[in-house]
């Protein structure tokens, strides 16, 4: 897998990253500029950030602030115009299964069953595993998200929540080092959303992969994340603030919400999003 990631060039500005050198995943002075008909458009400008291995990071910000672009540079679907993103000391240049994505629209193949979708991923990434083991991994991960019963159903027969479960099972079945989720629960009803948040946390606790997740929901971020990255408004968005969320794990939703710290953090995030960086609709 790592053969697809090129080593970082020598003399890269390592000092630009806050904890220099050895962080698991680093953004080093990353900018993204898109050429448009009316001239270059800067989406992200000078992003420096370090993510530790096994950390759960949420990214929040108003639409158009480049959250997706930021994560796409980790998954490899976008490359920085300036600077670089480094994983394990290697520069990320293209997509790979070590950085699996749970896509916004699930991106499941509708002509396959839930089982076949997960199996296809396992079989693509680890073709040399014995057949029995690949089947076992597939079943195990479907069971993890509670889909043993629905495994043989076609994707079209599944509800939104179940589709998202399949997408998560597929992503985790290939044992990625980084799991990238782009607003995974945005389209789900409140109850399903809470269920899935809890399932995601449980699985993350057992697998300990690094998670990067875009959300629009402050409560979701406070429940899930170790740190919350708050982005300033685009164009030329930057990281405005990174908030530490130090609730003990495993977390319990009720207990967290009774903690006075919860409201401090919540107000801090609200203040950032709706006072200091309120979305100015007239600016577009």
């Amino acid at each position: 897998m790592s053969t697809l990631i090129q080593p970082a060039p020598m003399g890269a500005p390592a000092s630009a990253a806050p904890p220099p050198g050895d962080a698991f995943l680093r953004f080093e002075n990353v900018s993204k500029v898109y050429p448009t008909a009316t001239g270059p458009y800067t989406v992200l400008d000078g992003i420096d950030m370090a993510v530790n291995q096994g950390e759960f990071m949420c990214v929040i910000g108003h639409s158009g602030c480049g959250k997706s672009t930021l994560l796409n540079m980790v998954s490899g679907f976008a490359t920085p115009t300036e600077g670089q993103v480094i994983l394990h000391g290697n520069r990320i240049t293209k997509p790979g299964p070590d950085r699996m994505v749970v896509f916004q629209g699930y991106a499941l193949l509708p002509w396959f069953t839930a089982y076949e979708n997960v199996y296809l991923a396992v079989d693509s990434v680890k073709p040399d595993l014995p057949e029995r083991e690949k089947k076992e991994i597939t079943r195990e991960h479907l069971a993890m998200v509670g889909l043993t019963e629905a495994a043989e159903k076609k994707i079209l027969q599944l509800s939104g929540g179940m589709k998202q479960r399949v997408a998560i099972a597929r992503a985790l079945a290939i044992r990625p080092e980084v799991l990238i989720l782009d607003e995974p629960f945005g389209a789900l009803d409140a109850i399903t959303k809470e269920e899935l948040q809890e399932e995601l946390l449980t699985i993350w606790n057992t697998q300990k992969c690094t998670v990067l997740m875009i959300t629009h929901d402050i409560d979701e971020a406070l429940f899930l994340a170790d740190r919350l990255v708050m982005m300033t408004n685009g164009p030329a968005a930057k990281i405005g603030e990174i908030m530490d969320i130090k609730f003990p794990r495993p977390r319990n939703r009720e207990e967290i919400m009774e903690d006075p710290l919860y409201y401090d953090l919540r107000n801090q995030a609200l203040d950032f999003l709706y006072s200091r960086f309120a979305h100015d609709d007239t600016a577009d």
């Binding site: 997509p95 629209g105 991106a107 193949l109 296809l120 693509s124 990434v125």
Partner: protein
């Protein structure tokens, strides 16, 4: 008749009742077709049109024989309609299969490679506008013989909808599916069988269905200008030469019926192979 169970709408307890209830479905087409035949009968009996009346297909001996004995074989070209049709259909099958193979292969290639598409698209757009009949002389010059020339005419007529729809189907593969393939680093073979073909299949079938009709149209055109060929097309031409107008009418009705059956067959196949997409 005592119904013992509560009746559900649409489920009738006897055939007669079912007929009455579903009359909205079968009555209009019956009246339309019947009315058309009746008008034709009246007009030709009154001598307004020179075509023989529909009833004459059964009263005249030549056409009655053709209707009643589709399997007769007196050697040479003097064969029943079944054999004429089979000869035409076998040409269609050959030309159409070739068109499907080449059309799908080239369609996938130009769907995946925009540069190749840009290189050949003007040529394809131009060639597909050439009528089947115009290909006949070219085909005869190219192949010198009737049989391969006829197959070529089918091929060149039927290939364009297959090719263009396949290419469109490949272009329409959602970016999400491509991204999944990219992040999983699927081999091209796996991408082809697990993503590309299933995703483009509805488009490919649309092309195949349009083409089967065109192929059938083309074979008639091709056979008409290829004298001495066993087939429903030349059968009509031969009848015209010898002034058997009833046979022409019968041949045309036969052609329409076969074309309809082919189209329905493809539609049925389409629902079987790519359901629910």
């Amino acid at each position: 008749m005592v119904p013992t169970s509560p009746r559900r709408p649409g489920v009738a307890s006897n055939p007669l009742e079912w007929l009455t209830r579903s009359s909205g479905t079968w009555l209009p087409p019956l009246l339309g077709t019947g009315g058309f035949l009746l008008l034709w009968q009246i007009l030709s009996s009154a001598g307004v049109i020179a075509l023989p009346a529909p009833s004459s297909l059964f009263t005249e001996e030549r056409t009655r024989t053709l209707i009643l004995y589709p399997f007769y074989d007196r050697g040479g070209l003097d064969k029943g309609l079944f054999w004429q049709t089979m000869a035409s259909l076998s040409r269609v099958a050959q030309g159409y299969t070739l068109a499907a193979l080449v059309g799908i292969a080239v369609g996938i290639t130009i769907g995946l490679k925009p540069t190749i598409n840009r290189a050949f698209d003007p040529l394809f757009q131009f060639l597909r506008m050439v009528a089947p009949l115009a290909w006949v002389p070219i085909a005869l010059v190219l192949f010198q013989k009737n049989q391969p020339a006829a197959i070529f005419v089918i091929f060149i007529t039927a290939i364009w909808p297959i090719l263009i729809n396949t290419a469109e189907g490949v272009r329409q593969i959602p970016q999400d599916y491509r991204n999944v393939a990219l992040v999983l680093q699927m081999s091209s073979r796996r991408f082809f069988t697990k993503v590309l073909i299933p995703s483009a299949l509805p488009y490919i079938f649309t092309g195949l269905r349009i083409s089967i009709g065109l192929a059938w149209l083309a074979i008639i055109a091709a056979e008409i200008v290829m004298p001495g060929t066993l087939g429903i097309g030349f059968f009509i031409w031969d009848a015209y030469q010898q002034n058997y107008v009833g046979e022409i009418v019968l041949g045309v009705i036969w052609i329409g019926a076969i074309g309809l059956v082919l189209d329905r067959l493809m539609a049925w196949l389409q629902t079987r192979i790519s359901p629910g997409q």
